[in-house]
Amino acid sequence: MTKVTMTINGKEVSGDVEGRTLLSSFLREDLRMTGTHIGCDTSQCGACTVHVNGKTVKSCTMFAAEAEGAQVSTIEGQANADGSLNVIQQAFQDHHGLQCGFCTPGMVMTTAALLKINPKPSEQEVREHLEGNICRCTGYHNIVKAILAASGQDVSTIAAE
């Protein structure tokens, strides 16, 4: 067992982990932060996406011990300070960008990272950026639309809803 300490959503946390404990397991099982989801075992689905030191990371590809001293952001820390939905979350709700909700935390985290580096992405850029996030419910239409809306672009001309 190794002791790890990191800052998650602005709060310092620590725990004892086995060397093989993944960051995703540390979040879900040790810290009981279950908003980060596990949808696959090959780092393809993106449901476990978080930010580590500002970079998008699939938390199933990283050992908890590797996050020693890191700044980690998860879905639980995305809402506004008053608890209301942030711009991205609100856009997903407004445009029905989620159904079962399982891939959603990863989609929100991936979107946040995209808009940071590309504040006004094109439709194609959004679709390509979502390569690492699989959704089985929505057919992606409303996710793409929500992301464009979250970036402040007019989506009213995009096919009906």
Binding site: T34, G35, D41, Q78, L85, H96, I134, R136
Partner: protein
Amino acid sequence: MPKDGGIGAATTRREDVRFLTGTGRYTDDIQTHAECAAIFARSTVANGIIKSIDTTAAAAMPGVLAIFTGEDFVEVGGNPAGWLINSRDGEPMKEPKRPVLAHGKVRHVGDAYAAVIAETVQQARDAAEMIEADIEELPAVVNMKDALAGDNFVHDEIGTNQCFDWGWIEDNRAATDEAIKNAHHVTTLELVNNRLVPNAMEPRCSIGSYHPGTGDYTLHTTSQNPHLTRLLISAFVMGIPENKLTVIAPDVGGGFGSKIYHYGEEALVLAAAKKLGRTVKWTADRSEAFLTDAHGRDHVTKIELAMDKDGNFLAFRTETHANVGAYLSNFATATPTFLHGTLMAGNYTVPLVYVNVKAVFTNTAPVDAYRGAGRPEATYSLERVIDMAAREIGRDPTDLRRQNFIKPDQYPYASAAGLEYDSGNYDALMDKMEEVSDKAGFAARRAESEAKGLLRGFGVNAYIEACGIAPSNLVGILGSRVGLYDAATVRVNATGNLSVMVGAHSHGQGHETVFPQVVAEMLGIDPMSIEIVHGDTSKIPFGMGTYGSRSLAVCGSAVVRATEKIINKAKKIAAHMLEAAEADIDFTDGEFSVAGTDKKVSFGEVALKAYIPHNFPLEDIEPGLEETAFYDPANFTYPSGAYCCEVEIDPETGKVRVDRMTAVDDFGNVINPMVVTGQVHGGLGQGIGQALLENTTYDENGQLLSASYMDYAMPRADDVPYYIVDHSQGNACTHNPLGVKGCGEAGAIGSPPTVVNAVIDAIQSGGMNVTHIDMPVSPHRVWAAMNNAK
């Protein structure tokens, strides 16, 4: 209360907030004190004799609490098939036992033969690797035709790999054969409906607990239908009395059919919980999901369409081999038969249909209903052969369909495949599709593509499907072992808000938002004062759950009936409060008033009175305001649609890109257009996935080659376009109170043939005589077909 949140409003979903903030509660999110973990040891061979299982070393591993093998479940029952199919000769289908854990033989890769329970999941996994199983590998049965020809049986005790040989409608067989023999033109197509893995993003998970003091069991599980799961465990597998077993399906991350069924892991965690007195959790990883979730489709079909000299359809005849895998999953026998054969008349006035389906056991994972369940297979066969026929006789594919459509004045229409369609207008759908898709602009778009060196094709499709499978009387006659009603309880609380307990389960469909819209409309109250309770057998009435696009049509109708009962009783209470005759009470916009006076009470005041029945006429009215209704529909609902698709093909690589995808559907009345559109989007994504990308491949030894997201091509965001979706052409369902039809599966039913028809159109536009390519229409298949045709 204004009704802008009622029927027809595109209300955003209230459940989204918890999913967007990481506060959803999926089964694996539940952690309890003193929980321990289960891990399964699974077969790595497709067919083998279990000679011995030595658990000594595993049992000595750190943290191990118990190990189970098939031996421990010999005395308990098997997981049954829910639908009895009789073969053409009247013989009942073969039903080999499906045990909790494999015993004697393993029958597919992933078949579980042992389970380890340990303090932690890591310890359980480590110990499971120490189990020494001596399994003698036998040759695997993988290909269906080989399975029927050989004497290597998946289940030795039944002496055949044929589960059944079903004919529909058997009395039409001779006449259909005769019509085809004498027809002016017969088009014949052999096709494969590719095997798919449903791939709900949340893997299956089950948590069993047992209270020794009361003998009560609780199962938290990823289910689309907790009461059905409880019934199967209680009545067939474990013998636990239903009143001693609570099944809870909390937030569920998608189902698409795969979470309808009871799986052995659910029984195992309950048995382990009782033995250990501990809560036992098992969570599938994605590899287990690929190996053990019930797969979908996997039909090999020959279809013939007979026409007269004018292009009128005379008969459809099909021969299908349907793979059921190694064991019968709960709806495996209904899916290729009554959910498939009964739709083989499509939208057409064809007088004769004959469908033959041979269901075949193979050493592969069980196959069962996946989004659409039998209807995509029917639609694909019909709409591909019709397209091929049109091209053979030089007719426009749309015109040929229109010529043979059932017309609006022909409803109710008795189809040649045995269903009574209640309503529809297929020409209107086709008209609307041509308008919203800008079909008129296709020629210009094709010219643009050709200028870039690309081929562009236009594919069209008309589908009809049957949702909300019913009525119980009819399905019982046809072999169903369950009823197919649903139930709702409307509880008006004393302070005027409502709890509505429903048998349907929401795992993405938006019931928590949509059902309150219906109740709010009826009661004239704020929808936000209405809460939906679902997924817990200890809280909800006995309902059959969510699948087959039934939630609103069946359970929603139960909600309406229960709410009507509430209104009736509330009127009695209001009459008492207003000292008026019940017949004089009007109920509008949430207020009860006495006709012709200004005397009135609000819904909330009546609710309070119901629970504080001072001065109540108890001989006429009981206290309380809570009503339950069970609703058993008179018929299926019959959504229909006209779809079109435009693809671009790069002739150098064979890569197909879906450029435009249009779905125009008749869903009857629409409660929440935003949610309905979202349901169509999802189905289109899955249908495009089936058509272009997804394939489940076993090698000749029964090894699953496509067992991860690195090998199984799930559609990604850049594989699909924006969709054009329209449901303005609804014809209300004539037999349920909301006039609604199912919308959950339509997109997945209508889109695959649309895409393939467009691919064929594109290739033929390049002068190459390619008439069919099997799905998935991968770049390699397209490239090879084009090159072979040159």
